[in-house]
């Protein structure tokens, strides 16, 4: 009896060690480098103020549309940072749908990053919106979403930056960044985003902003280390 118990423990130990080693080896296979991007904008923010003439209850009387939103310390908000042509990864698919909400007559988030796959479009406002995309690689979409249609499921299969608008509320403007791999991030109000598990080696880091365009920088990603990249976008 004791022998059996002892063997059980031994097997469990071996299994645990094997699992641990497995996790480690997978981590190293992924490259394990982290990129911390810091995106600054050295200019005045571009905010448009729009008087609302309909659906005031849901939209409010006034809308402030941040075409270029800048946080404290000149951090640029809502820029997409990604590893351009990431080596070692061919295709990636989203495991579950990402969510784009229409709330207060605005798109949340204003810039949505996703892997090719499904997206759930919510209508939290309970008024008519129409989801109108301007895409080239993916089929363009223009579908009405009346108040009783709370969720719509759509698909974006090909990587590109897609402009999204609502014609009913012309100020509503959003972007969907369909990325070919999981190595991307969207900057917060400090202009910072972290991308983890980036394959080690020479990589090109790209930043994209709907108004300010694109910038690229080459970095050396090292396993288990954080590499900092600083960008400064100009008009």
């Amino acid at each position: 009896m004791r022998r059996v118990f002892g063997m059980g423990i031994a097997v469990a130990l071996v299994a645990a060690v094997a699992a641990f080693v497995g996790v480690l080896s997978r981590a190293t296979a992924q490259g394990g480098g982290t990129i911390e991007a810091d995106v600054k904008y050295n200019g005045a923010p571009m905010i448009e103020t729009i008087k609302v003439n309909k659906d005031v209850e849901q939209c409010g009387k006034e809308k402030k549309i941040g075409k270029i939103s800048v946080g404290p310390n000149k951090g640029l908000l809502n820029a997409v940072v990604s590893v351009a042509d990431a080596k070692g990864v061919t295709t990636a698919k989203a495991a579950k749908p990402v969510v784009l909400d229409q709330k207060g007559c605005e798109f949340h988030p204003p810039v949505l990053g996703m892997l090719p796959g499904e997206i759930e479009v919510l209508n939290s406002d309970g008024i008519l919106h129409n989801i109108h995309t301007f895409s080239t690689a993916n089929p363009t979409l223009n579908k009405a979403q009346p108040k009783f249609k709370k969720v719509m499921r759509e698909k974006f299969e090909k990587p590109e930056y897609i402009r999204v608008q609502c014609d009913v509320h012309s100020w509503m403007l959003g972007w969907i960044a369909v990325m070919p791999h999981p190595y991307f991030g969207i900057t917060d109000d400090r202009g910072v985003t972290k991308i983890e598990n980036v394959p080690a080696g020479k990589q090109t880091i790209e930043v994209w902003h709907p108004v300010l365009g694109t910038q690229k920088k080459e970095v050396e990603v090292k396993t288990g280390q954080t590499t900092k990249v600083a960008f400064e976008l100009k008009k």
Binding site: I131, T140, N142, A144, P146, K147, K149, D167, H169
Partner: protein, 485 residues
């Protein structure tokens, strides 16, 4: 034979027998060839008939394009408004239909004059401008089984119209005056107007029940009009909405060239919502903001009244800083109505032959003026005209009254049974129209019907009575003569 037949025929052919098979063998290749079209042959036709507007490269930038509103289609985009497909590209048949029937309300005419083969060749050539997009065969847009129109269907359609907020663009009464209307842009960033649902003869893709249901289901690509097939409560609602949309206006505008003015006894109501008889004129369409005006008129012993109805998506008073001007209309007459005088120049007269204008302007009310050219308008002091106006759901309704006769040589006197020239001007100030920038017509005619006297109620019964009495007398005389014998 329509190309649709090619799809049906083979199935029956196999069961019918060898003769039919032989028929198919002969006809199908011919039709398929016609359907497929020859892009090279289409190019030759295109360059003669289409390139002036659509451009040699198919980019919608032909020499005539600048003067057209809406703009000609840019074929390189592969985006088409009228589709019966669930995909983003139209079927060949859709393109063929647009070439054949044209697009009502735009500068695209019908090309039914071209041989059918030329039209199929054009389809092939037009597709070649966006060959990449046409690589895959489009899937047809399925529609739920048709529900015919009925009072209930229209009622349900109205409910849906409100629930899915069609009014946001098309307006509460369908007159294209919704709150989102001023912001609408097409795919290329040009301002675009929603359809006025009360004028179905201008629906771009046709106004049959299937046409309307299809536009609702599939949307209108390149415009803000989205697809609603997945966005109604029940699939049948597409048909109910169709019923409602088609109930909003008449089938055709019933254009007329003569305004017949009825004579009435007693006072003429000046309530713009009151009932009048109707005649509609079709103003010449320089800027398509106001394209139709319904005119009705009556007169009595002392005055004449005009009732005008027209759609204007924006109610506007003058604000020149914002390029917004006052909405205005006017009726134009020659100041003197002698039969022998020549009619003044239709565009507000000239120095030798002026016109009289009876009009209304937002902020000013009813006005009278003389004009001897578009930029030479002199208001007449001491206006004798009065009027009332209402504006609701994108439509103006105006009643203007004026004494029938005038001693002033600058004002016309209206006389019964005379053909009086009349022309119409309308300005949508919200669309930047002012001065000579307006919708206008050439001369039409107005005729005051001769008053009908009360004698019509006396004479015919009297004649009847006399006849009956005379007949009775004859019968009686004849009877007496028989009795005497």
């Amino acid at each position: 034979m329509t190309p649709v037949a090619t799809r049906r025929r083979p199935r029956t052919a196999w069961s019918v027998g060898p003769l039919a098979v032989l028929l198919v063998v002969i006809t199908v290749p011919a039709l398929v060839w016609a359907r497929a079209g020859d892009a090279n042959a289409g190019k030759a036709v295109y360059e003669r008939k289409c390139s002036l507007c659509h451009g040699e490269k198919g980019d919608g930038k032909g020499p005539g394009a600048e003067r057209l509103d809406p703009r000609p289609r840019d074929f390189t985009s592969g985006l088409y408004k009228v589709r019966t497909t669930a995909d983003k590209i139209p079927s060949d048949q859709d393109l063929f239909n647009v070439i054949t029937h044209g697009m009502p309300g735009t500068s695209m005419p019908t090309w039914a004059v071209l041989p059918e083969r030329d039209r199929w060749n054009l389809v092939a050539y037009v597709k070649s401008f966006a060959a990449e997009k046409f690589k895959e065969q489009p899937k047809p847009q399925e529609l739920p089984r048709e529900v015919s129109s009925s009072a209930e269907s229209i009622k349900r359609g109205k409910e849906m119209y409100e629930a899915i907020e069609c009014n946001k663009c098309h307006g509460a009464a369908g007159r294209a005056d919704g709150p989102s209307m001023p912001e609408l842009k097409d795919e290329w960033g040009n301002a675009i107007r929603p359809a006025n649902l009360t004028k179905r003869w201008k629906f771009r893709g046709g106004s049959s029940r299937t046409d309307v249901a299809m536009r609702l289901a599939a949307g209108v690509l390149g415009t803000p009009m989205p697809s609603f097939i997945d966005s109604v409560e029940k699939p049948d609602d597409i048909w109910h909405l169709t019923s409602y949309v088609l109930s909003l206006g008449p089938e055709s505008p019933n254009y007329a060239t003569l305004v017949s003015v009825g004579a009435v006894d007693g006072a003429i109501p000046d309530d713009p919502n009151a009932d009048f008889c109707q005649v509609i004129v079709d103003p010449r369409n320089f800027n398509p903001s106001i394209d139709l005006m319904a005119v009705r008129a009556v007169y009595n012993g002392s005055e004449i009244a005009f009732h005008l109805t027209w759609d204007d998506p924006t109610r506007s008073v003058a604000d020149p800083g914002k390029n917004v001007f006052a909405d205005a209309v006017s009726l134009q007459f020659p100041p003197r109505l002698q039969a022998e005088t020549e009619r003044p120049y239709f565009l507000m007269g000239d120095s030798g032959n002026p016109v009289y204008l009876l009009g209304w302007e937002a902020g000013k009310g009813v006005t009278e003026a003389n004009a001897s050219g578009p930029d030479k308008v002199t208001p007449i002091a001491g206006s004798e005209a009065t009027g009332r106006i209402v504006f609701q759901d994108g439509q103006y309704r105006l009643v203007m009254k004026r004494p029938l006769a005038s001693k002033d040589p600058n004002r016309p006197s209206f006389e019964p049974a005379r053909f009086t020239p009349i022309a119409f001007h309308a300005r949508d100030g919200g669309a930047g129209e002012t001065g000579p920038k307006m919708s206008l017509t050439s001369w039409y005619y107005l005729r005051l019907e001769e008053p009908q006297s009360n004698r019509r109620f006396v004479v015919p019964p009297l004649v009847t009575l006399v006849t009956v009495v005379a007949m009775l007398m004859i019968v009686r005389a004849a009877n007496r003569r028989t009795a005497d014998n």
